[in-house]
Each structure stands twice: as structure tokens, then as C-alpha cells.
Symmetry: C2
């Protein structure tokens, strides 16, 4: 199978919204009048972002999911994506499930494949995704990291830390019962981008980011961009780990300290972390219901720079939590 | 040096035209009203697209050049690009010249870096580039592969085959004098995307493609997309190889057969191959002068499907030429 047959067989589909899709030198998009185009690019590398024996269908899902998660964090509506793929060989047993997993998620979000590249090389998946953000009365509705204000409240969607539990189990540093691992592994390998929530939070949230490197590390990006500080209530956050939230599972299997590690600094969660004023509490709940996505209020934005972790009594936690860094 | 410091140090620069550049979950572009966005993505892999000892500055240039060449083939005006980079390690001695070569070409074309990704992994460079194409009276001015008409003439810009001469010399299959190799190697490692010519050909050319896999292979894409055939005069094409166009060099060093191989099926040329009606000959020459880029008329489009190679007497050449394929 040659390069062009590979593209034709697995990655060429009709486009409904793009002016021109796969098959020419460029794809052509015509953004709706009065909108901005949101763009994000993520590269997944074997051994770094996924294990070499990962299910190709799950990998196709995840490669697009991490990009859609960036659109979600921006409040953008998905439009289209490009896929650049380096493969050791053109293998139908890999390409068929990979493209199925990819297109299942793409179709669920109306996000069209419009172009890309394929080449021989160590497995590497690079997706660039495009979304639309409205501009209303001259003001972009994009959610940025830089909009958090003092006294805003800090929210996070869904659950946190399960992906890290799965990762550590697969690395052999902890042991989980099979059923608990299956649930956690689903979060690691097939994350759900919070696209509907991101759009519902336009005009409600003051700042947003998606949690990819870990809650605290990603919160720091908001704090730096907004020039503020924050306090996080760890007695609330500790309950965000789904696999440990069943009393029959959690007792004694994973220490509370490890649970907090996973929640605060786990990474690979792809939940939305955002801020909103106290006056917007009802609007945040309405967005949560509209998007069928639970959200939890876990802290507040402070004038004082830095990040403070407190327990249920309001006392400071003495620990620090490193965040994920690809080159650290 | 961590991931965020690496991005801040080498790849964060102010943007003039993008609404939002590097540093948030997404970049934001606001295309001008009445324009379409042209998008192309290319992935370069060590050992496949470049030798591991290539000058990093030249590599930075080439990684963007091959993408700008796709915009050129579409007649698009460059706007912005994203860069996803997998690196074995964060090495200043590589990153400094790489980013310099990249930005020198980007600045020359007013093309802004607006986002991307960096990760640890086998060296892989994936750039996605964005350009603007006007829509006039409801008609997109993009140059497509599908517009060639019977009796159109076939043109190619600049010179062809030198990149392949350099590649074969570096692989040891042929031997070139040092001065001749230096000239050819410049073409292989620092190709010039024909961006100005592409824009000048809007409304003039009927179809266009950039020559990356070899003249004949890329011409076949136009023929398939346009459902036509073509005849190419090899007695003209043979003169397109620049390194062999100096009488003092060419005699006896490289056989005429090898020269024709390089011209017709060499690859890595990044010239524009395009078609235009006979009535547009003066307009093609005007576009060539405007863009300071020579063009040569090498053949014509036929009703009869397929690709015919003829000599100066109009006789068919009996040879066939394979085109480059990443998985063949």
C-alpha cells in the first residue's frame, strides 16, 4: 500500500462545511462572518504519551480528544482538523481501528478532517484543530487564561486523578483491582473533551484552561496570565478522584496522600479548570446542566500571588506537588 | 531547561496580525472578510526527510519552506503557522540555529508563529501553515489541481533536479565536484517556496501544484484531478537542471539519462508546476516578471488520458520514471 492509497483508503472523506478537504495542496475553510478561528496543535509520541501496545482505536480517539480539549478550554466550536502521521509501516491492522476511533470522536463533534500528511518514521501523531469563536459587539467570546479576577471562584469539571492512577498501575508503582483499573484506564486512554461545557461557559467564565499537565500546574498558568493568586480547598478536591469515590474500593487500597497526588498533580485529565465571579454561580450551574457535565467549586482567586492549599479547617498544607514537564 | 522555558526562549514572539499568539490553549486568527483560509500540514522526520547531521538553521528554513510551498501552489498569501516539535533533548546548540532559520524565512513572508507543541521524542517537525485567498464575486481565487483544460500549456518555475543530484551525491551513488555539489545541496537543504509567483498566478493559471515528489508524479495529480492527459517535451525539460546547465561542469560528469531522471522524477524541488491557456501566455510572463521567478513552458494538456514524454522530434520516449512514495 502506497502513501496515496493509504490516504485515500483511511483518511479521505467528504466534507460538509469545509470548502475543500483532503486531496489538494491546501484545504480551504471559510469562517463565518464575525467569527474568529481558534487553532491548537498537539503532538503525541509513542512511549511518551502512550504505551506501544495501546489499543489503536483508543489512540485515534485520544489524539483528537486532546486537541478538542484545547478548543473546549477556549470556548470554541469545533470545525475541522488536519492529521500528520509518521508510521513505522502502513499496517491495516493498525490503521483501520485508529481511523475508526478518530472519526467516531470527530463525527460526534462535527469536526471534519480536511488535510494532513503521512510519512514513514517512528510513530508520531500530530493533529491541528480549528474551531470558531463568536465576536459579539466587537468583543471576542474566547475564554482565555488571562481573565481571572480577585474574588472569582475556581471550578473544575468532572473528575481528576484517575488517568494518573491507571498510568502508575501500568508502570507497576501501585496495584489496583481489575475493575478499578478498567475504569481508571478508560480515563487515561479515552478522555472526554469538555467541548459542550466550554461553549456553555462563554460569557460566564472569566478564565479557563484544560487540565493536561495536572490541576496545580495548569492553575498556575491561569494565575500567571491573570497576575493573581489562589487558594484551593484540598478537602473538596480529594473527592474528585472517581475510582476512589466508591467506599468499597478505596479503603486502604490507595493512600489519601497518593489520591491527593493524583488529583492535584496527576495530569492527562482533560477536564476544564475555570474561574467565574461569585455572582455567576447560577450561570455556572446552568452551563453545567446544559452541557451534562458536573462541575465542582474548589477554591477562590486571591490578590496575594502564589498558590495555597488548605484543609477543611482552613489550615495550610505543608506539601508541594510537582507538575508534569516534558523536558524536566 | 523545561518545556515552558524552551517555548518562551525560542518560540514566543509578539504577533502583529493574529488576535492571539503563543501562550494560551488556542491561538486566535481573524481572517479578513471575504477571504478563505488555506491550510496545509507537513511533517519532517529525521532520516527520511533530512540527514541527522543537517545544519539546524537550514532545517528550520526547510520545515517552513515546504509548507509555504503548499500555500504558493494554492495562490495563498501566508498569514501564520503552528509548530509541533519532538526533540530527543532540549539542546541550545540545536534550538538557537533552528529557530533562527525558521524565523528568518517566516519574517521574509510575514508569516507569524501562533502556537504549537513541544515534547520529548525522536526528532520530528510538524508545521501547519495558514494563508489567505481572496474570494472575488463569490468565486474563490485559490489555485486547485483540478482546473487544467485540454489545450492548456504546462509550465514549471525555476529549475528542477538539483536537489536530487545533491541527495544522490550524499548517498554516494554519484560523484559531483565540490562547487557543483554546494549549489545542488543549497537546493536540497534550503528550497525557495514560490510564494510570490503563486499569488501572481491567481486568475491566470488554471491548475497548480508544487513539485515535491518529482515533476511527473506531481503532474499526474493534476491530470487525475482534472481528468485530462499531457505531453511533456523532454528536450526542453532536460535543460531545467541548474547544476548541469554550465557547459564546463556538465560534460561527462552526469549522464544525460541521469540528468533526465533527476529533472523528471527527482523530488524535493518545491517549484510550481501549473497550467494556463494559450491565451494567457503574456499574463504568465507578466506574473513571472512580477514575482522575479523564471518559468518554462514544457508541454501541453491533452484530451487523451495519460502522460506522454517526447523528444525534440516529437517521438515518444520508451522509458518510465517512478515517483517518490513514502510507503512504496
Amino acid at each position: 500500500m502506497g502513501e496515496f492509497e493509504l490516504i485515500a483508503r483511511y483518511f479521505t472523506r467528504p466534507t460538509a462545511r469545509a470548502v475543500l478537504g483532503v486531496g489538494d495542496d491546501c484545504a480551504l475553510l471559510q469562517p463565518a462572518p464575525g467569527t474568529q478561528l481558534a487553532i491548537s496543535s498537539d503532538m503525541l509520541v509513542e512511549g511518551r504519551h502512550f504505551f506501544s501496545d495501546v489499543d489503536p482505536g483508543a489512540l485515534g480517539h485520544k489524539a483528537l480528544a486532546v486537541n478538542l480539549s484545547d478548543l473546549a478550554a477556549c470556548g470554541a466550536t469545533p470545525l475541522a482538523f488536519t492529521l500528520a502521521l509518521a508510521l513505522p509501516r502502513a499496517d491495516d491492522a493498525w490503521l483501520t481501528p485508529f481511523s475508526r476511533g478518530l472519526f467516531a470522536l470527530a463525527d460526534a463533534h462535527g469536526c471534519e478532517l480536511v488535510g494532513g500528511d503521512t510519512t514513514q518514521g517512528p510513530l508520531n501523531i500530530c493533529i491541528t484543530v480549528f474551531g470558531e469563536v463568536p465576536v459579539i459587539h466587537g468583543k471576542s467570546q474566547a475564554l482565555l487564561r488571562s481573565g481571572a479576577k480577585v474574588a472569582d471562584e475556581v471550578y473544575v469539571s468532572g473528575t481528576l486523578g484517575d488517568a494518573r492512577l491507571a498510568l502508575e498501575t501500568m508502570r507497576g508503582t501501585i496495584t489496583l483491582p481489575a475493575e478499578m483499573l478498567a475504569q481508571a484506564r478508560q480515563r487515561l486512554e479515552q478522555p472526554t473533551p469538555r467541548v459542550a461545557l466550554g461553549q456553555a461557559l462563554r460569557g460566564v467564565a472569566t478564565a479557563a484552561i484544560d487540565v493536561s499537565d495536572g490541576l496545580l500546574g495548569d492553575l498556575r498558568h491561569i494565575l500567571q496570565a491573570s497576575a493573581v493568586g489562589a487558594t484551593i480547598d484540598t478537602s473538596i478536591a480529594i473527592h474528585l478522584i472517581a475510582a476512589c469515590d466508591r467506599p468499597d474500593w478505596s479503603t486502604g487500597i490507595i493512600s489519601l496522600e497518593k489520591q491527593l497526588d493524583c488529583v492535584l498533580a496527576g495530569g492527562d485529565d482533560y477536564e476544564l479548570l475555570f474561574t467565574a465571579p461569585v455572582s455567576a454561580r447560577a450561570a455556572v450551574q446552568a452551563a453545567s446542566r446544559l452541557a451534562h457535565t458536573p462541575v465542582t467549586r474548589i477554591g477562590r482567586i486571591d490578590l496575594e500571588p502564589g498558590l495555597r492549599l488548605i484543609d477543611s479547617q482552613g489550615n495550610a498544607l505543608p506539601r508541594s506537588f510537582p507538575s508534569f514537564d516534558h523536558f524536566a
